[in-house]
């Protein structure tokens, strides 16, 4: 059985890589947005570590999903909250696990419905196999090569743990 890395260890390296990327791109005051639910936990940690001035935004992509008619509504998810204007901002979008790319597609659509950002950086704790859309992350905590029936799930908010689930 594959052992998954500890998210806390991954976050240290991710913070370092993200700082480097921001310097490279000459971005001084980025805004961070986490995708509910796991992405928000990862974003909270990074937002704190980077000491960003703008408050953290959160995104609930339920209304933008492409599998709505097969999965239905999830009323328990928190609403989106973007406490800043999106227009001309450099946005750091954070999620826990990147697999098909469909969540990120939905999140980008939602962000663009709020305004036109100057740029988007995608940060993911785990980048696993199974991509269905041409989407890749800029900052990645860990790469995982997994068969389709295995799912990675982040539990949290404290402590953060990556878990493998076998889907039947």
């Amino acid at each position: 059985m594959l052992t998954l890395p500890n998210p806390t260890d991954l976050l240290t390296a991710m913070e370092r890589d993200l700082r480097k990327l921001l310097v490279e791109r000459k971005i001084v005051q980025p805004c961070m947005i986490g995708i509910h639910t796991g992405g928000v936990w990862v974003a909270q940690a990074l937002h704190h570590a980077l000491q960003l001035q703008q408050p953290l935004g959160t995104l609930n992509i339920t209304f933008y999903r492409d599998d709505f008619t097969t999965l239905g509504m999830h009323p328990q998810v928190q609403p989106s909250s973007l406490p800043f204007a999106i227009d001309d901002k450099h946005i750091i979008l954070v999620d826990d696990v990147l697999q098909t790319g469909r969540t990120i597609r939905a999140a980008m659509n939602e962000i663009f419905d709020y305004g036109r950002p100057a740029s988007l950086i995608l940060v993911c704790l785990a980048d696993r196999s199974g991509r269905e859309l041409p989407i890749c992350a800029d900052i990645i905590g860990t790469h995982l090569d997994l068969p389709p029936q295995q799912h990675v799930k982040l539990s949290g908010p404290a402590p953060l743990r990556l878990k493998l689930q076998e889907m039947t």
Binding site: T62, F63, F68, M73, P75, P79, S80, Y114, G115
Partner: protein, 324 residues
């Protein structure tokens, strides 16, 4: 009992939204929570989400309405659905078979949802019983029976102002007799477990046995009924539905049952005032109250869109029934 079943499909998911009577508390809470999410959509620059793209929703209005029809239309459009507005003059044609013929024609055009408003109680149920299996029906008000989306937007408005339903004392005031809004409000408040529901109005406008049938306290005196209430829900005097001399005059009605500054002072200082609209200023409510700081009447209108978005998307977002 049958009435209650028709709202759910074989897998227990909400398929139609016809009445609040008999719905479990969790269903009401799910609707309120989902609406909370949709309320944020109006803050977006693009006030539209792609959830119901490709769906066709028909506003089937057999009775005049501006607010309800436009908020349903706006809700559907903000969900990216296509909307068809049909106003039917009940007096000319529609009786029995011709109504069903019309429904079957709309079904043949591959519509997905009917929003029905009708002056006959039970009309939405009737239509729900006869539509094709893929179609959902939402009751936009039927006769004196029910107006469930109005009641849900009222509950949403209350929840935005009060932390919890349990301790609340709620007074519904006015023309209970002709009010489908009041009936749906009472069912919703009781299901959500408020401490006490009071109805206040003249003898002629409160049906006999209201207290026993609905589990409410009946008052005919505003002084006693308004004492210490948290939420005041005014009703419109429905002059168009009144037959016979139920009231001596509008002036006397206002003196006894109109919400004035002095009467509002009997309620708790942080009491909120709701009204489903349209308001008869100076008949059931004084202008300075309708426009005053305790009034949440315009908020109700905004919340109406979020609630209707929530109900439409829950009903059309059902998982396919044949899933294992």
């Amino acid at each position: 009992m049958k009435k209650r079943d028709i709202q759910f499909d074989a897998t227990g998911q909400l398929r139609h939204f016809l009445t609040i009577e008999g719905l479990p508390r969790q269903t009401l809470i799910d609707i309120l929570d989902t609406a909370e999410n949709f309320a944020t959509v109006t803050e977006q620059q693009v006030k539209k989400v792609p959830l119901l793209r490709g769906k066709t929703i028909v506003n089937l209005f057999f009775e005049a309405s501006t607010r309800t029809r436009t908020t349903f239309e706006l809700a559907a459009k903000r969900l990216s659905a296509d909307v068809l507005n049909i106003s039917v003059n009940t007096s000319s044609t529609s009786k029995g078979e011709s109504l069903l013929d019309m429904l079957h024609n709309l079904e043949a055009m591959h519509c997905d949802m009917f929003i029905v408003r009708h002056d006959q109680s039970g009309a939405a149920h009737f239509i729900a019983r006869h539509v094709a299996p893929h179609i959902s029906v939402i009751n936009g008000g039927d006769g004196r029976h029910a107006h469930p989306t109005q009641a849900m937007l009222d509950m949403f408005t209350i929840r935005r102002h009060k932390k919890s339903f349990q301790p609340l004392v709620v007074a519904i005031i006015g023309d209970i007799m002709h009010s489908r809004v009041a009936r749906s409000q009472i069912h919703a408040l009781n299901t959500l477990g408020v401490h006490e529901v009071r109805v206040i109005g003249p003898h002629t406008l409160i049906p006999r046995h209201t207290a026993e049938s609905f589990g409410v306290h009946v008052y005919h005196d505003m002084q006693a009924g308004l004492r210490d209430v948290d939420v005041i829900m005014m009703l419109r005097l429905q002059r168009e539905r009144m037959q016979g001399a139920l009231l001596p005059s509008e002036g006397e009605y206002f003196r006894n049952y109109g919400l004035s500054k002095a009467k509002l002072a009997l309620a708790k200082p942080d009491a909120i005032v709701l009204h489903p609209g349209p308001i008869n200023r100076g008949v059931e409510i004084e202008s300075c109250i309708a426009d005053g700081p305790q009034s949440v009447i315009l908020e109700q209108v905004s919340h109406g869109i979020a609630i209707r978005m929530a109900i439409m998307s829950m009903v059309l977002g059902r998982k396919p029934e044949k899933e294992e």
